[in-house]
């Protein structure tokens, strides 16, 4: 490396991006462009940073494949942090392979970590979990280690494994302190708060109370039959029946579960499930059909029986029947409930799940998006929606050093 690049790189490593920029502001050789790119990213000008890193990558010669790969990794990180999911995952994979070929294990591990973060961000939790198994956290410097542990915690939270999540967050906190980046420590702290904030409400024999994520996990592991309005499923021991695409059946199941061990009059069921004010004969006939369908869906989990004035739901084996609902049930709560599963949804899939018109769903998504409660990526038909992700995703840039020859 040359003198000013060394001086600028030292400034950057010392947390002085302006000092780095000052030294290489007028230079357009690839290492200078790369340094300027990282400095701009740290200063928050992500668009400019992206251009600079792209130009740097293009400028490195054939013998500098490693430096080019590091630029691609830095560019991918900027794209992910700015939620630009159009960045080609293939380019990131190729960069990672190049870094591995050149024994650059730290940056290769950083690239792998980005791959997992990307999968988690787009709601591909299973794939993220599989890819995470390929990341060896051992060579990671403290800052990247903290990011890695946040990913582990994020997946564990999605999977309702709170012990794993807590352990990962504790490791993330140690690593963040070690890295001595206050913004990163703050991110880990806010992620940890998630475990101490009610994740849902439990309705048990007509009484409601808030539940922490840990308690939700315990509930799912218990013998109780849970009508889960957070995910629109009915959970029994070892069996999960999804009613996500059957909104009427779910509404009936929920109404019946809330009344357990009592029954629910026909009129009330008709009002809840069909949103009809006055029940007539056609409604009653339809209710019988829907109850028949619900009976078939729930099968071994619960029994739906007719009573004098309506219907009652009773678990076949479990002792308790409870309802789990989102912590806040406001407008668009049902939609948020679907999105809370961490997967990415198309608006048409949501329309089917909610039994609403695509236009209604679009309007609701736009309102929720404006309020910061949901986010989207992709364009046109490929557009997908999800709730802002669980921690897993530090917005702090941990960009690897892209310089050649070091």
């Amino acid at each position: 490396m040359d003198s000013l690049i060394t001086a600028a790189a030292r400034a950057l490593a010392g947390g002085d991006p302006l000092g780095a920029l000052k030294r290489v502001a007028l230079r357009d050789d690839p290492p200078a462009l790369a340094l300027r790119g990282i400095a701009m990213a740290q200063l928050g000008d992500l668009a400019r940073a992206k251009t600079l890193l792209k130009n740097a990558a293009r400028g490195f010669g054939p013998r500098e494949a490693r430096a080019r790969a590091r630029c691609v990794v830095a560019e991918a990180e900027i794209a992910l942090v700015s939620r630009d999911l159009s960045f080609p995952s293939k380019a990131l994979d190729m960069a990672r392979a190049t870094l591995e070929k050149h024994d650059d294990w730290v940056n290769a591990a950083h690239a792998r970590n980005l791959v997992v973060r990307r999968l988690l961000l787009v709601g591909r939790v299973d794939e993220a979990e599989r890819a995470l198994a390929d990341v060896d956290p051992a060579p990671l410097p403290p800052a990247s280690r903290a990011a890695y542990e946040l990913v582990v915690a994020g997946i564990a939270i999605r999977r309702l494994q709170t012990k794993t999540a807590r352990a990962a967050l504790a490791r993330a906190e140690r690593a963040a302190r070690h890295a001595n980046i206050p913004a990163l420590t703050a991110e880990v702290e806010s992620a940890s708060l998630l475990l101490d904030t009610p994740a849902a409400r439990l309705i048990e024999r007509g009484e409601g109370r808030p539940l922490l994520l840990e308690e939700v996990e315990m509930l799912f592991a218990s013998q109780a039959l849970v009508v889960d309005a957070c995910r629109h499923v009915v959970r029994g021991t070892g069996t999960v029946v999804s009613l996500a695409t059957r909104p009427v059946l779910f509404a009936l199941a929920r109404a019946l579960a809330e009344a357990w061990p009592g029954d629910v009059p026909r009129g009330a069921l008709i009002a809840r499930a069909f949103r009809a004010k006055h029940a007539d004969e056609s409604h009653r006939a339809r209710l019988r059909v829907e109850i028949g369908r619900l009976r078939a869906e729930l099968g071994k989990l619960a029994e739906v029986s007719a009573t004098k004035r309506g219907f009652a739901l009773a678990p076949r084996q479990a002792g308790e029947l409870v309802v789990l609902v989102p912590p806040v049930e406001g407008q668009h709560a049902a939609m948020l409930a679907f999105l809370a599963d961490g997967e990415s949804w198309s608006s048409s899939a949501l329309a089917i799940a909610l039994g609403a018109s695509p236009r209604t769903v679009q309007r609701a998504l736009e309102a929720l998006g404006a309020a910061g409660k949901v986010q989207s990526f992709g364009r046109g038909r490929a557009r997908r929606w999800m709730t802002p992700p669980v921690p897993a995703f530090p917005t702090v840039l941990l960009l690897p050093g892209p310089l050649p020859g070091d």
Binding site: D2, S3, A7, G405
Partner: protein
Amino acid sequence: MKHVQAEILREYGPFPGADNVHGVTFDGQHVWFASGDKLNAFDPANGETVRAIDVAAHAGTAFDGRHLFQIAEDRIQKIDPKTGRVLSTIPAPGEGGDSGLAWAEGTLWVGQHRGRKIHQIDPETGAILRTIESNRVVTGVTWIDGELWHGTWEGDESTVRRVDPETGKVLETLDMPAGMGVSGLESDGGDRFFCGGGKSGKVRAVRRPR
């Protein structure tokens, strides 16, 4: 052109508090190397650190028999090794793109990294007297017995090579083992080169072919 494998005689370091080697020189007794914010001296006989001078040290290092010369940002500093004081500075010819530094017969020779050049300059004014073109990045420069040698390091390939000081033509090449780069070069006046090892924090003694 002769093409041979470099023979590593010995490795020194990494040294505590100096994780990077940016330039190397030899004062006849101790090896000096630049580590960013310090010039460090160690005894090549036993590898022990003997001194350190707090001075900006970002690239090439040289010794003229009395003074140390050290590139920092886009300047070359002239340093009194006894007191550690910077006596004067001159502009570096590569305007900060400078990498290697050597002293020979009253002039300084400065490698310009990606510019792939070696400049001969006036040590008083910094004026460029002559420029030799290389076809590889220049990461270190040294003179020994009328031979001009320079280091190169691009990606995984690093060499020490002798070039014709008139034409820049490559006369002899020592290939460094894979993974070992040369980030500074100095001869000990005999049959050894001292090579800075960049981020490895090491200085390596390499046999000079006869």
